[in-house]
């Protein structure tokens, strides 16, 4: 089946009129966070209750993707009245239905006028929490696949690349490589067989942006990939998702079969000569497979180990063919850019970092959850305005960005705008978007030790500095937290960090010392207190004698 624009509009029209036919709609968050606190049961109970009362044609219950405020789940949203409910229980169901025509249930209302909702700018997550991710029609009703239609029928590949370059979009996986430049290299790469890979191997502790996008709006990623394929001359794509995201995989597979049925992927898409195939590949849970050469090895069925670059995947990638790897969030930005133009996108953000960034806010912060903010928002705004500050009046100490490859940013940089370059300047990275807030009760040495433990157990073992060096660093950090370290070991720690950073093979190893290096830079007194005074300034670490 191949569609044309009239068919698309027809589907959208039918879907919209269906939606408008209901006087009330209740959206139940069915993303992994809320699902784990029972939102599935709530949806069932709501549906049962509505049927029992005979209100089926009056009130519509929809399961949607992430509503953002994951800490307060299960969440409900009522798009007709614009209110949100938090912490809903099955027993609240009759009360919620009773109140539909009157004022909302006061004890469940989640204040929507807070900065958490007001300060966000939603591009990647614009459909999250608004549409049913398991139905392609709802995505089409929100202008879905219109960007693809426009790209395939009205634009040349070069025009698309120009749009992406002009938008200033940079890779959202962490390093911030200009996406347009990557696409241009890919378009120029020689060979008739080319591959596009979507990197959904999100492994940072505390990060769940890609998972939420895939769970809440999988079609957006698919659309981005098909556009990327058309622009760069690739006809085969792979979405690499970690197997630990079963819900994302399930929805992605469903979305793929729907898109295939509608003719958005396959042969002669929208009656053009362009064809594109897309498959899901599962990762077996290795952090290093987020590194592009290791990811390629994993898709090929080999062990997930990086290889030295150059040659870069864009010349020599999957099965030796030119391969372009983009992050989930990068690809989710493509359709809006095509639909609304590069100028619109370039108008958001800072001079060198355009658009928005999705962050997974976690740790010692009131509003834990998923946020999307324009580039250049200050850390203070993120933590205190949007995040709602530190719970129980605690004192802010640091925020960790970029996962195990990132660093800890102390209080003095709170007013720094969050963009690729500013973060790099203070020794951290944007990373994929994990943001962990720490208060005065966290010991920074212990934090560094946690991340080093992660890097040590995730090191693939190929190159010597990363394989043995991370272990040695971890041992020294363990000694420091136990107040058993000497100054000689402290010097050795700095020395080892320098060694791993400069001699490791891949990005994982080269960035593994970052959490140690930034804490050494900004919280050196804590390290020294453990060594000289044998005490933990934060009171978090136990002394060796106490442990024994």
């Amino acid at each position: 089946m191949t569609l044309n624009i009239e068919d698309l509009q027809q589907i959208a029209r039918i879907e919209k009129s269906k939606k408008d036919g209901f006087q009330h709609r209740i959206n139940v968050c069915l993303a992994a966070g809320c699902l784990s606190c029972g939102s599935g049961l709530i949806k069932e109970a709501l549906e049962k209750e509505v049927t029992r009362r005979g209100l089926d044609s009056w009130c519509k219950i929809t399961g949607v993707g992430c509503l953002g405020l994951c800490a307060e789940g299960p969440l409900l949203s009522l798009p007709t009245s614009g209110s949100y409910y938090q912490g809903v229980q099955v027993s609240d169901v009759p009360e919620i239905l009773d109140s539909l025509n009157g004022s909302p249930v006061a004890r469940l209302v989640c204040p929507a006028e807070t900065p958490f909702f007001q300060r966000q700018v939603r591009i990647v997550t614009e459909n999250c929490g608004r549409i049913d991710p398991e139905r392609i029609e709802e995505y089409i009703a929100e202008d879905g696949y219109a960007g693809l239609y426009q790209a395939l029928t009205q634009m040349t590949p070069q025009e698309i690349i120009d749009q992406v370059s002009g938008s200033g979009l940079r890779g959202r996986g962490g390093a911030g490589y200009p996406t347009g430049l990557k696409w241009m290299s890919m378009a120029k790469a020689m060979g008739s067989t080319k591959f596009i890979i979507c990197n959904g191997d999100e492994g940072d502790p505390g990060a769940f942006m890609d998972r939420s996008v895939l769970e809440s709006d999988p079609h957006r990623v698919i659309e981005g990939m098909v556009i990327a394929g058309y622009a760069t001359g690739a006809n085969q794509g792979f979405i690499y998702v970690r197997a630990e995201y079963p819900l994302a995989v399930k929805r992605l597979r469903l979305a793929l079969s729907q898109a295939e049925r509608m003719g958005m992927i396959g042969n002669n898409i929208f009656n053009t000569s362009f064809h594109f195939n897309l498959q899901v590949r599962l990762g077996a849970g290795a952090f290093v497979c987020g590194e592009e050469t290791a990811l390629i090895a994993s898709i090929e069925g080999r062990m997930g180990r990086p290889r030295p670059r150059p040659p870069f995947p864009v010349e020599f990638g999957l099965w030796d063919h030119p391969t372009m790897i983009n992050n989930v969030e990068t690809l989710a930005n493509i359709a809006p850019i095509i639909r609304r133009g590069s100028q619109w996108f370039a108008g958001i953000g800072t001079e060198k970092s355009k658009g928005t960034k999705v962050f997974a806010l976690a740790g010692k912060v009131v509003n834990t959850g998923l946020i999307e903010i324009p580039m250049g928002t200050s850390l203070r705004d993120i933590v205190f305005a949007i995040g709602g500050g530190i719970p129980q009046g605690g004192r802010f100490k640091a925020v960790q960005t970029g996962g195990p490859s990132g660093g800890c940013i102390p209080e003095q940089f709170l007013d720094m705008p969050v963009d690729y370059d500013s973060l790099a300047q203070v020794g951290s990275i944007m990373g994929s978007g994990g943001m962990i807030v720490m208060d005065a009760s966290s010991c920074m040495v212990d934090v560094a030790r946690f991340f080093m433990e992660f890097c040590m157990s995730e090191s693939c073992g190929k190159c010597v500095p990363c394989r043995v060096g991370t272990r040695q660093i971890y041992d020294i950090l363990g000694k420091i937290t136990a107040s058993r370290a000497t100054m000689a070991e402290f010097t050795m720690l700095e020395d080892l960090c320098d060694l791993i950073k400069n001699t490791s093979l891949c990005g994982l190893g080269q960035s593994a010392p970052n959490p140690v290096l930034t804490t050494l830079k900004y919280f050196r007194d804590e390290y020294l207190a453990h060594i000289h005074d044998r005490q933990c300034l934060a009171g978090a670490c136990k002394k060796a004698e106490e442990v024994l």
Partner: protein, 255 residues
């Protein structure tokens, strides 16, 4: 059986094009598809290596062959880096030598390398490297892991305590012998070379018993049975011939 597509030659390197560059302030000339390491060796400039072995594919994993490029702070592994016109390579700066020493020391701490009781004592590349680089002590604490010895094969023996995970055995078995008996399992510090899905070597049905793995092993990890301390010297003369016979020339890009 599923056929893998043939290995493609790197299209960005033209083997017939020549270029000149500098290694340690000496002018040298090279084909575009020759690595810095091979050009250095041709000119008798010594760059220490461990995972590299002529005739096998490159891995770029031991990081001992790192060199400096003038004007850049980035260190490059000489075994997998191709020179560019007018590049200035420094192979023996203090910085690079210090890093090499530290990497070697890390290797010594990783497993139980006790030379005095090792069958390869005196014929060991790890030992030789330590002597060459002047590693007279190890500054990091030894980790003393527990590792097995597999002596189930009738003629050979593997002692994982001496293994440096260079994977020469894996590569020679796959690329030259074509048996692919050896492989690696686990990750990080728990990596381990295995035969046939981690079965005892002696029960391996794929092993042809050719012993190439034993001969290419740089340390005393893979040895012939019946050898006592310091008796296990290795013979590697066969590699270049086998490579020539199988038509595997330089320029093919390997994993």
């Amino acid at each position: 059986m599923k056929q893998h597509p043939p290995k493609k030659v790197r299209s960005d390197l033209n083997p017939s094009r020549l270029l000149t560059f500098k290694i340690d302030d000496r002018d040298v000339t090279a084909h575009e598809d020759e690595t810095i390491l091979s050009v250095a060796r041709q000119n008798n400039i010594i760059i220490p290596t461990l995972c590299h072995l002529d005739g096998l594919s490159e891995r770029g994993a031991c990081r001992l062959c790192i060199v400096e490029v003038r004007g850049s702070t980035k260190l490059l592994p000489a075994c997998v880096t191709f020179p560019r016109q007018d590049m200035e390579i420094i192979t023996n700066s203090k910085r690079v030598i210090n890093y090499r020493k530290k990497i070697l020391e890390l290797l010594f701490t990783e497993r139980n390398h006790v030379c005095s009781v090792c069958v390869a004592n005196g014929h060991c590349e790890l030992q030789n490297l330590a002597v060459e680089l002047g590693v007279d002590h190890v500054r990091y604490p030894y980790l003393y892991p527990r590792h097995d010895v597999d002596a189930s094969h009738s003629r050979f023996c593997i002692d994982h305590n001496r293994c440096v995970l260079c994977l020469r055995c894996v590569r020679v078995c796959d690329e030259i012998e074509g048996a692919h008996t050896w492989d690696i399992m686990g990750r990080g510090m728990t990596s381990k070379v295995i035969t046939d899905l981690n079965q005892p070597w002696g029960t391996s049905e794929t092993c042809t018993g050719c012993g190439k793995c034993v001969q290419v092993c740089p340390t005393g990890a893979l040895t012939e049975k019946g050898k006592s301390v310091a008796e296990m010297s290795k013979r590697r003369q066969f590699l270049p011939y086998l490579q020539m016979m199988r038509g595997r020339q330089g320029g093919s890009w390997q994993k």
